[in-house]
């Protein structure tokens, strides 16, 4: 069985276009959540989100851009950054041994929304000819393979909020089994459009806007938490077999040591302690380490009533007394919930934590919930820590619970 090396990281995220900037902002407790500017926002109860500052013309020619939904634009830019970071030259690789694995929950939602606006809103019969190509959920993955000439597996996973973690975990399995040498894996999401925001509002899962400071609207693990805040962006990792990375003298950020998957089958949205705990146990088994070896947990921590108390109970079920000793933080309090990209972004953050010996905080947790009584690194990041293993949780509507473990290279 091959070990899996993480040799590249790349993001297009609220709070940063460089992993360094993102991590520095998170450590400082800065929030990327603010008022949105989307069409029809006057019809939204809470027009807030974590948007990315992104000018597509900086990266793509106009002719190309017409075919790329924002979700593909994010993916292509983030993956290019991961490739540069890993210093891989795909012209020197066996193309069929290199693949792509992408998670996305809503695919080209902006294109779909625009098409519906034209057809139903404006009662037009005309819809842009690239609507199918731009909105299909596998478009980001397809463009990555085309741009970089990678003819190995090209896969898209859509498991709602765990899509990004599943895409990375499944890519790691292909490397572990020896089926691929290199996998570009991550998640991408661009859901900040009226139709999507309104649909999430209708589910009553979005946080209300904080009246004093909009950036404090997402409050994971707090007594006064009242929902998640949607975000957009993409995060990618370059995964390689350990031998392949060593042979070319690559810098190894960390080892992807564990991946656990488990499904809640009781309800379409309601998480279970057992399901989340089993996914964490599976990830620890896969990493071959005991729960006590985990030095940091990047929680799923959405800021919803349901998730945060269940996740806390699941952590206690798996970690026992160690649950109270290990720092657990929800960075969604700052970068929002990137849906299909969330698991990938948070895994990149977990890897950065290991590398820097630092743990980002959970922000806006001023009112503790008695049901959430772990060390959530409240309000202030920590540095100068010796971290060997970090665990990143991703849970989802539909029940697909995915957990990744990263370990310091040894």
């Amino acid at each position: 069985m091959q070990r899996v090396a993480i040799t590249g990281l790349g993001v297009v995220a609220p709070l940063g276009h460089r992993v360094e900037d993102l991590f520095t902002n998170l450590l400082a407790g800065r929030s990327g959540i603010g008022r949105l500017r989307v069409s029809l926002q006057e019809k939204l109860h809470t027009p807030i989100g974590a948007a990315v500052e992104f000018d597509p013309d900086e990266y793509f020619a106009p002719q190309r851009l017409r075919m790329l939904d924002r979700v593909s634009q994010f993916a292509l830019v983030a993956v290019a950054r991961a490739i540069v970071d890993s210093r891989l030259d795909f012209t020197k690789e066996a193309s069929e041994r290199c693949g792509v694995s992408v998670g996305s929950s809503m695919g080209g939602a902006l294109t779909t929304d625009e098409g519906y606006m034209s057809l139903y809103g404006e009662r037009s019969e005309r819809v842009k000819p690239y609507t199918v190509l731009a909105s299909m959920t596998n478009a980001p993955a397809a463009w990555i393979s085309i741009d970089h000439g990678l003819s190995g597996p090209n896969l898209t996973y859509s498991t709602a909020c765990s899509s990004g973690a599943v895409a990375i975990g499944e890519a790691a399995r292909r490397i572990r089994s020896g089926d691929a040498d290199v996998m570009l894996a991550g998640g991408t999401e661009a859901p900040l459009t009226f139709g999507v925001l309104r649909a999430w509002e209708a589910m009553r899962t979005l946080a209300t806007e904080d009246r004093l400071d909009v950036s404090r609207s997402c409050r994971p693990f707090a007594l006064d938490r009242d929902g998640l805040v949607l975000g957009e962006g993409a995060a990618f990792v370059t995964l390689e077999s350990w031998e392949h990375a060593i042979a070319r003298g690559a810098h190894i950020h960390a080892e992807l040591s564990g991946y656990g998957l488990c499904t809640d089958v009781g309800h379409i949205t309601r998480p279970t302690v057992e399901g989340q705990a089993n996914a964490m146990r599976a990830a620890l088994r896969s990493a071959g380490i005991p729960a006590e070896a985990i030095d940091y947990v990047n929680a799923h921590g959405t800021g919803t009533q349901q998730n945060d108390s269940v996740e806390t109970a699941a952590l206690k079920a798996v970690f026992g007394a160690h649950a109270y000793a290990v720092p657990v933080s929800s960075t969604k309090s700052m970068h929002g919930h990137l849906l299909g990209a969330a698991g990938a972004l948070e895994f990149v953050i977990a890897v950065s934590s290991l590398e820097r010996g630092a743990v980002p905080p959970t922000m806006h947790l001023d009112n503790p919930d008695p049901l959430c009584d772990l060390d959530y690194v409240v309000g202030r990041g920590r540095t100068d820590l010796a971290l060997r293993h970090a665990l990143s949780n991703s849970f989802a509507f539909g029940g697909t619970n995915a957990v990744l473990v990263a370990s310091a290279p040894a």
Binding site: Q63, M67, P129, Y130
Partner: protein, 94 residues
């Protein structure tokens, strides 16, 4: 406006080409226009010239002239259909 001028106007705007490059004999492929670009091109032609293209555009269109001839043919046929008397399907009761 002629079909050629309309086509040229669209392509000058969307593909940063010059009118000189868009002579009738110019090859679309050498102008960097592929089959996907053609989809968008025809989407705009429909709007400007008030015609409808429902099916796959033939792959045999290689030059600017080929596109103009194809569109002119459609314009002629669709104009005929528009101007033709509407058939009366009402059934006269016996």
């Amino acid at each position: 406006m002629s079909t050629l001028t309309t086509l040229q106007d669209i392509m000058i705007n969307d593909y940063r080409l010059t009118r000189a490059q868009l002579a009738p004999e110019a090859e679309l492929s050498s102008l960097g226009i592929d089959s996907l670009d053609m989809l968008e091109l025809f989407f705009k032609i429909e709007e400007r010239l008030g015609i409808k293209i429902w099916n796959e555009v033939p792959g045999s269109l290689r030059t600017v002239h080929d596109v103009v001839a194809y569109v002119d043919d459609l314009r002629a046929r669709q104009a005929t259909v528009r101007d033709a008397p509407v058939p009366d399907h009402r059934v006269t009761p016996p």
